[in-house]
């Protein structure tokens, strides 16, 4: 499978905006792609397979993997795969000391990021603070949470800070659920898309200071645990991604487990929790969508000011994704004739979507991460006086396939998790398989949407 682009929109948007304003040397892995420092032009290679066929193949791959999963109808086998785990480290002392070291590291990194972003050189590619946040943290570290395991509770510098601060311990209003985190996630993505937070170091420092103030105030009022469990979007994102990962922690034990098996324990999976999962899936899509030609034509046609159109589209797309999933759950209830409520079905099946979200994230950020990693390493050696030229890696041609594969692997995992969930909920084997029809249709819709975005030519977001 090949498409007309190398990375996702956001990826290249950021690479391009980062490259602007600083001398960059492209280290070209493929000589044929030698376009000097212009990364944008390297992205538009000739199309080997037409887009419609890429989309159709992606959709069919999801459908075919559902058919494959449906051949496994042995309940004990499914349950055994889901609950398999092997303890690796079983020592409270080791974990506690490890956590302390990691916490200290988190504090140091936050201090360095804040200092360099506000005081250091303001060219994006030369600023260690900006590169650390976008390349090291949002691309690289996030990947580690779903590929390895969630270490954010230990690393999170705000959690470390909040522990030494007093807490008023007001009781958190239960009916709010994780809605504050959901709204905050959408808001953060809105800021990321419309503001210069991705290429202006001092602006980034300002955003971090605002986030720090809000977070510490929140933990002061409601207590550390309550705040990071319900209101903080970043901790929620990493917690959710961490459940896709092959390593998990349960008190004093770190175990190797079936990837995605911890998704079943997102409890109590409330209605707001479902909204958060869908929001996480949608924001990665939205991030790419705003620099497609389609978005540009929408902006040209719709007579709404740009400042209103972005949040409007963000919320509308979220609503569409949410409605599609609720519709699937209602259809599933009709098909199976089950007495389980639609709300319960939505809650039980939504967590499987997190595997898809992780696949999207990898597809969107792997190329970006690899290409800018040398820049991060170079700038880290001299944060306040970085070399005038930094090295960028240009991914080879086949690299676009890795992104597409990540999306498909995410779907395979999601299908398996949903399959195991269905066999846990429904007593009939055929009933369990049939319950998945509408969810698979929705997954095909999500896949084809994100593959379509990956295959669109890059335009700068209006």
């Amino acid at each position: 499978m090949a498409a007309s682009c190398r990375w996702s929109r956001c990826t290249r948007r950021r690479v391009i905006s980062l490259v602007a304003g600083v001398a960059a040397v492209g280290v070209l892995a493929v000589p044929a792609l030698a376009h000097g420092g212009s990364l944008g032009s390297a992205g538009r290679e000739s199309v080997a397979v037409p887009t419609w066929l890429v989309l159709l193949t992606g959709g069919a791959a999801v459908g075919a993997s559902f058919l494959l999963a449906s051949l496994v109808t042995d309940r004990s086998l499914i349950a055994a795969v889901e609950s398999w785990s092997r303890g690796l480290i079983d020592s409270g002392a080791v974990l506690r000391w490890g956590a302390r070291v990691v916490s200290l590291l988190g504090l140091v990194v936050l201090a360095v990021v804040l200092f360099v972003a506000s005081m250091g050189p303001q060219q994006p590619l030369a600023n260690l603070g900006l590169l650390t946040v976008w390349v090291g943290w949002w691309a690289g570290y996030t990947m580690s949470t779903y590929l390895v395991g969630n270490t954010w509770p230990a690393l999170n510098p705000w959690r470390t800070l909040s522990r030494v601060l007093p807490s008023l311990s007001y009781s958190y209003p239960e009916r709010l659920g994780v809605w504050p985190a959901t709204v905050a996630l959408l808001a953060l993505v809105w800021v990321e898309v419309v503001s210069p937070v991705a290429d202006q170091p001092d602006f980034l420092a300002g955003v971090i200071i605002v986030y720090t103030a809000v977070t510490l105030l929140g933990t002061l009022v409601f207590g550390t645990q309550q705040w990071f469990d319900s209101a903080d979007p970043v901790a929620r994102v990493f917690d959710h991604y961490g459940r896709v990962a092959p390593f998990g922690r349960d008190r004093d034990t770190i175990s190797l487990q079936t990837p995605g098996s911890a998704l079943a324990d997102i409890a109590p999976a409330t209605r707001s929790e479902v909204a958060f999962v869908i929001a996480l899936l949608w924001v990665t899509t939205f991030d790419g969508f705003v620099s497609t030609p389609a978005w540009r034509s929408i902006v040209d046609v719709v007579p709404v000011p740009l400042s209103a159109l972005y949040p409007l589209a963000l919320v509308a797309g979220f609503g569409l994704f949410l409605a599609a999933f609720y519709g699937a759950a209602r259809a599933s209830k009709r098909i199976t004739g089950t007495c389980v409520t639609t709300a319960s079905l939505v809650r039980e099946f939504a967590p499987s979507l997190l595997a898809i979200a992780a696949g999207y994230h990898l597809a969107h950020y792997l190329g970006y991460f690899i290409s800018l990693l040398p820049a991060l390493a170079t700038v880290a050696t001299a944060p306040l006086a970085p070399p005038a030229e930094v090295t960028l890696l240009v991914a080879p041609d086949w690299f676009e396939t890795v992104g597409m594969l990540a999306i498909l692997v995410g779907h395979f995992l999601a299908i398996w998790v949903a399959h195991a969930t269905a066999f846990d909920i429904f007593p009939g084997r055929l009933q369990a398989i049939r319950s998945q029809y509408p969810f698979i249709a929705v997954m095909v819709f999500y896949t084809m949407t994100s593959l379509w975005i990956l295959a669109q030519p890059e335009v700068a977001a209006p």
Partner: protein
Amino acid sequence: MRTERLSYDDGSDTAVCEYCGRPFPDDDLLALHRGTRHFEQLPDDQQAAYEAAYADEQESVRLFRLKALGGLILVYFGFLMVYAVV
């Protein structure tokens, strides 16, 4: 696990499991549920009902598997041909 936190429609009392109180749309599904969740506790007639329901279902599961395999083969060769043409 999951089944303990499920909620059910009001007034769904067509076939209710006497061991855990879960409601089901019909007796076959109830029999399958009893067998998969409470097999050790079941009296002989309920064990027999489970085995009968399971055997009944086995036929349709087998048919579904055939269809699924057929579908997979169709998709595989369909795409093989489309890719050969494009």
